[in-house]
């Protein structure tokens, strides 16, 4: 390929696009990572929960006309659905083989897609960028959509909130202890079932938040979760299954890798993520921040 088109501004802009895309990947991976890290469940419905989140956003937006309401109530609605899923579908499988919840969530993913097709049609719906966040910003090295900058900001806020909640509060301490040794925690008199219920709902709500945030960037359709599931898995596996820090670092790295590939070999942009994953796994089978031997 002719490298004549390259200049510093373009490379800088490409790096920035990569980081911004990485923030989206972080958002996609967070919910998956939290649920696996705390409950040990690989949620195969994650991508479709993301999709349901986008539709919940459309639903709220159509009724209230406010993007901000959609951003708040969309994830809350889907989070409530998460409570029901944990209580009535996941919990009865406790103590059985770890394959069971995996199969369950796999099937649940199909149910969610068909449910949305029945309720909203198979066509896809438009979701306009909110007025106050539309337009482009001049970054000095190039132009970038204001909405995407906003998404980066929201992801940063969510990360700070999660970090504070997990590392600086008593509840966070219990959650972390529960992830390490649920037996001891139960012996100490903590209602671990209730803890798992809320952690699961949190993971689901985060996936849904990702969906609402993505809706103005992509068209909303029943299949939008399929690609997302693969991307979220690649990021969590690269970062180390269950590690929050891993998800953040891996998400940003993957964004940059995809973006740089898009510059030099655009048709390889989607493959690049998985090639990168294979490479990381060859060197560190447990992922960048994963603990060795943490099997499913």
């Amino acid at each position: 390929m002719d490298p004549g088109f390259l200049d510093l501004e373009l490379i800088a802009m490409q790096l920035f696009s990569g980081v911004a895309l990485g923030a989206v990947f972080v958002m996609l991976a967070l919910g998956l990572s939290i649920i696996f890290g705390m409950l040990g469940i690989v949620n195969f419905a994650h991508g479709n929960v993301f999709m349901v989140g986008a539709y919940a956003g459309v639903f709220v937006m159509e009724r209230t006309g406010s993007f901000w309401a959609a951003l708040l109530f969309g994830p809350l609605m889907v989070g409530a659905l998460g409570l029901l899923i944990e209580r009535f579908l996941i919990r009865p499988l406790a103590g059985r083989s770890p394959d069971d919840p995996l199969l369950l969530t796999f099937g649940l993913g199909y149910v969610l897609v068909e449910g949305v097709r029945i309720l909203f049609g198979s066509d896809g719906l438009p979701f306009a960028t909110p007025e106050e966040l539309s337009g482009v910003a001049d970054l000095g090295i190039g132009f970038f959509p204001i909405y995407r900058l906003f998404v980066v900001g929201v992801v940063a806020l969510v990360l700070v909130a999660l970090w504070y909640g997990l590392e600086r509060t008593r509840l966070g301490l219990i959650v972390r202890a529960g992830a390490r040794d649920p037996e001891i925690l139960r012996v100490l008199g903590v209602d671990i079932q209730r803890l798992w219920l809320w952690v699961f709902a949190l993971g689901i709500a985060l996936a849904a938040l990702g969906g609402v945030l993505a809706a103005p960037m992509r068209s909303v359709n029943p299949e939008m979760g399929n690609v997302v599931l693969g991307e979220a898995f690649a990021v969590t596996v690269i970062g180390g299954m269950g590690s929050l820090m891993g998800s953040v670092v891996a998400g940003l790295l993957v964004g940059i890798v995809v973006s740089m590939t898009a510059l030099f070999a655009p048709e390889m942009a989607s493959i690049a993520m998985f090639a990168f994953m294979a490479l990381v796994l060859l060197v560190r089978p447990q992922g960048l921040f994963g603990k060795p031997g943490l099997g499913v």
């Binding site: 490409q14 198979s122 896809g124 482009v136 959509p145 960037m217 068209s219 690609v227 510059l263 493959i271």
Partner: protein, 415 residues
């Protein structure tokens, strides 16, 4: 369970009785005695009812059913009625092949019409060609015209990439125009790119650069800095469906529309609905049909009116209209041939001139490609739309002419 049991069966018995009564009434009213004796004309119709193009498929079915209904209401073929056998091909070449084979072997379909994606259509064509059954494809493709995929049983009612790109380029490109291409990296994108570049070379437009993107990519942000740095006058986006909606939306988010005009090979009704008015505003592309054609073309008005009357005021769409034009042309040929004999119907189709929805059309002898008009449309600004279905402005109607097609020689057909 106990409470529900008897109630359920009572409802179902009642429904059954009602259904039987209705069926009996229909048979009695609709058809004279001869019709009941004669074997119906069976048209197999594989189309992706489920999956991402379900909306287009449903429009195809409704349009095709309308064509069948009109044929039957006019008395059929001397009282012999037509029926449409719809099958879901799930947008999957293997599934389509199985369904087509079933239609031919088990349901004894006389003809096959349908398919929506180019890979699926080629797979249907494989089957019909080997079974010597007449097939009218209604999916965009250049390949199906070429000698290696062609057989005398193969007809192509849809536009092909060569025609659409030439028409769009003729309208949008000027000498010296700088064109940047964003292209989906699979057969459809490649065919469209090839068409545009060929037209651009003839007009004298320049290529500012081209980017191939992976099929089905949800995010195009990483291609935008590079596209912008090409400083194009026109950004030509060659992809389809969801990819088209997403890439146009994101090009718009990145402000590319302010710097360049966006053109696409095919501008579709349902994708514009899913993408939204703001994202598509000002985008120019080609299509086979748009309901506003009814303002200038009498057969289009008649088609709109019949469709509205049959489907509660709904309007026909582009890909849907193919279902109508293809089935109508087939049934006209059956009428002319006098029976369902494949060879006689092929001869009748080759000789047919038909105007059923968009002005005069005919199938070219060498490759059975329908020579027809191409519409150049522009997506309307939200504030200029009069009603929800008023999506596009017709900029130009490029009349059908053989010069729009690649020559028979080039396609490998010997005279």
């Amino acid at each position: 369970m106990i409470r529900q049991g008897p109630g359920y069966s009572a409802v179902s018995r009642r429904t059954l009785v009602r259904g039987m009564a209705a069926a009996g009434a229909l048979a009695g009213i609709g058809m004279p005695f001869v019709a009941r004796a004669a074997e119906p004309i069976r048209i197999g119709f594989p189309t992706p009812v489920t999956g991402p193009f379900g909306a287009e498929a449903k429009d195809q079915i409704r349009s095709a059913e309308l064509a069948v209904k009109q044929f039957n209401e006019a008395g059929g073929l001397n009282g012999r009625m037509a029926e449409l056998l719809v099958r879901d091909d799930k947008l999957n070449p293997g599934e389509a092949a199985t369904r087509t084979l079933e239609l031919i072997e088990k349901d004894r379909a006389h003809f096959i019409v349908g398919a929506l994606s180019s890979a699926v259509q080629l797979s249907v064509n494989e089957i019909t060609r080997s079974r010597k059954v007449l097939y009218i494809s209604i999916s965009q493709s250049d390949t199906i015209n070429e000698a290696k995929d062609f057989s005398r049983h193969t007809f192509h009612e849809a536009l092909n990439p060569h025609m659409t790109t030439a028409a769009v380029a003729k309208h949008a490109f000027k000498k010296g125009t700088r064109v940047a291409y964003l292209v989906a990296d699979y057969a459809y994108g490649h065919e469209m790119l090839r068409g545009f570049k060929r037209a651009a070379a003839a007009i004298g437009a320049e290529t500012a650069g081209e980017i191939l993107h992976p099929f089905g990519a949800p995010d195009y942000s990483t291609f935008m800095p590079r596209l912008r740095s090409m400083r194009p006058d026109i950004l030509c986006i060659c992809n389809f469906g969801r990819d088209q909606a997403n890439s146009i939306k994101q090009a718009n988010d990145f402000g590319l529309k302010k710097a360049a005009r966006i053109v696409v090979p095919v501008l579709l009704h349902n994708q514009r609905l899913a993408g939204g008015a703001d994202a598509f505003e000002g985008v120019v592309g080609a299509s086979n049909y748009y309901w506003r054609l009814g303002e200038t073309v009498p057969s289009a008005k008649a088609f709109n009116d019949a469709f509205r009357a049959a489907y509660g005021g709904a309007l026909p769409t582009d890909y849907g209209a193919y279902g109508y034009t293809a089935v109508r042309s087939l049934l006209m040929a059956v009428q002319a041939a006098g029976d369902t004999d494949t060879d006689r119907v092929i001869a009748a189709l080759e000789a047919l001139q038909y105007d059923v929805a968009k002005g005069s059309e005919r199938y070219r002898a060498c490759d059975h490609q329908a020579i027809q008009s191409v519409l150049i449309t522009e997506s309307k600004k939200k504030s200029e739309m009069q009603g929800e279905a008023d999506l596009f402005k017709i900029l130009e109607v490029e009349p059908g002419a053989e010069a729009m097609l690649r020559s028979c020689d080039e396609l490998g057909h010997r005279a």
